[in-house]
């Protein structure tokens, strides 16, 4: 492995989250982004070619070293590590609404799900999956939520465009009703239109 690939490997091992190419580039002042990408590729290929128990994964806009799925069951049985707890149906539905409609307020989430959302929103915020991204112009200036960095990490997605698109869903996305949203630019967040 090249010296840069070695350094990147050490950095990826000591980070708790995915590191972007830009962050990795700060490790070595003389390295360009292209150098970093080449070293990342070398590392990935080395892990694959030598059949390592770990692999280099691209997610949440960065790179992370993770164990290969095939070993999860044995490690869990031996209780050396535990999986992240599963999200409840309510949490997943709320995340789904926020992911597709962000920025979105609590009232709209409650309207779509037909139940109050306060507890779920708080829990998602505490897990770092969503965050307040602003305030609506509507009466009372309610808070607007969007997905946070950990959302992509938890789901193993590279970016939001990895989410299923409208035409891949069996039910087409409903067009936004302006009276629900209040702001015109909200329509720009419907993935269907993109």
């Amino acid at each position: 492995m090249s010296p840069l690939a070695q350094l990147l490997e050490a950095a990826l091992f000591s980070a708790a989250r995915p590191l972007t190419a830009e962050e990795l580039a700060t490790l070595e002042p003389d390295a360009t982004l292209a150098d970093v990408r080449a070293a990342v590729d070398q590392l990935r290929e080395h892990y694959d070619f030598n059949q390592h128990g770990v692999e280099l994964v691209e997610l949440a806009g960065g790179f992370q070293v993770l164990t290969r799925p095939v070993h999860a069951a044995a490690i869990e049985r031996a209780q050396f590590s535990v999986r992240t707890p599963k999200l409840t149906a309510a949490a997943l539905e709320t995340l789904a609404i926020i992911a597709y409609r962000q920025p979105v307020g609590r009232a709209e989430i409650e309207e779509i799900r037909g139940v109050s959302a306060g507890g779920v929103l708080r829990a998602l915020q505490e897990r770092g999956l969503i965050e307040v991204v602003g305030r609506s112009e509507l009466l009372g200036r309610p808070l607007l939520y969007g997905t946070a960095a950990s959302f992509l990490e938890l789901l193993g997605l590279k970016d939001l465009s990895d989410l299923p698109r409208a035409d891949e869903l069996t039910i087409a996305l409903q067009p936004h009703r302006p009276e629900q949203q209040g702001t015109d630019d909200a329509a720009a967040y419907v993935p269907a239109e993109s």
Binding site: F13, S14, A15, A16, E55, V57, L59, Q64, V65, L66, T67, R68, P69, H71, A72, I75, F80, S81, R83, T84, K86, L87, T88, A89, A90, L92, E93, L95, A96, I97, A99, Y100, I112, R113, G114, V115, S116, R135, G140, R141, E153, L154, L155, G156, L157, L163, P164, E168, L169, T170, I171, A172, L173, Q174
Partner: protein, 255 residues
Amino acid sequence: MSSPDAPIAAAEALTTALGAGAAFVVELDAFAGPLDLLLHLLREEQIEIADIPIARVADQFLHAIQHLGLNQAADYLDMASRLVRLKAQMLLPRRTDDEGWEDPRAELVRRLLEYQQIREVAIWLGRAAEKRSEQLARGYLPPPPALPPPPLVLDLLELLQAVERVIAGIPSPVLHRVVARPLDVESATARIELLLLEREEIGWLEALGPRPSIVDLLSTLLALLELAKRGLLRVSQPAPFAPMVIARESVSTAA
């Protein structure tokens, strides 16, 4: 997305056989909300969302929430009342050639379709999270470097902008005129005691004194209640809506 049937299968794994037999054995949190329950009922009956037989579905919904013990939950009751209202609307007679007729079910259908779609995405997200959880991240993390953390970026302008946001976000900034004028129960007590020394019985308006303010009124009421509790006077009302009569209670006889 995988096959379109998959979300439905997964949803059914969430719930148990509802309506299959006489007895329901369902976990309370088996349903994520009234729309979830409604969708479940429609699937059970293999009903098209676009053409819901409201009368039957409304009855089943009411039946279901009673059996599930959900008839106390506001969200479910709200849906129940909507369904009952729709049921009534559907019973209204209409002419067959009435082109202006708007299907009262349209809003419910829209909401159900929208919710069903969110459910589908939620199931997709759940699978993605499940798949990701098969891969474990580094367990041991080296202690954070001894170097001081990079300086936090904060400036006054940002702070002031935050203040403006907070102020703008405070709902209906109604300014109350705050008057530091606490209740004066002591004076009211003294006034009533003085009156009762002179006379055996006084009226409520006399106890209040001339031109009472709302503070005087509250103070007098509290004083009366306190004195009555201590057994120093008796408050009675000779007839409904008649003025209160305040009578001296003889302490000496009680003692």
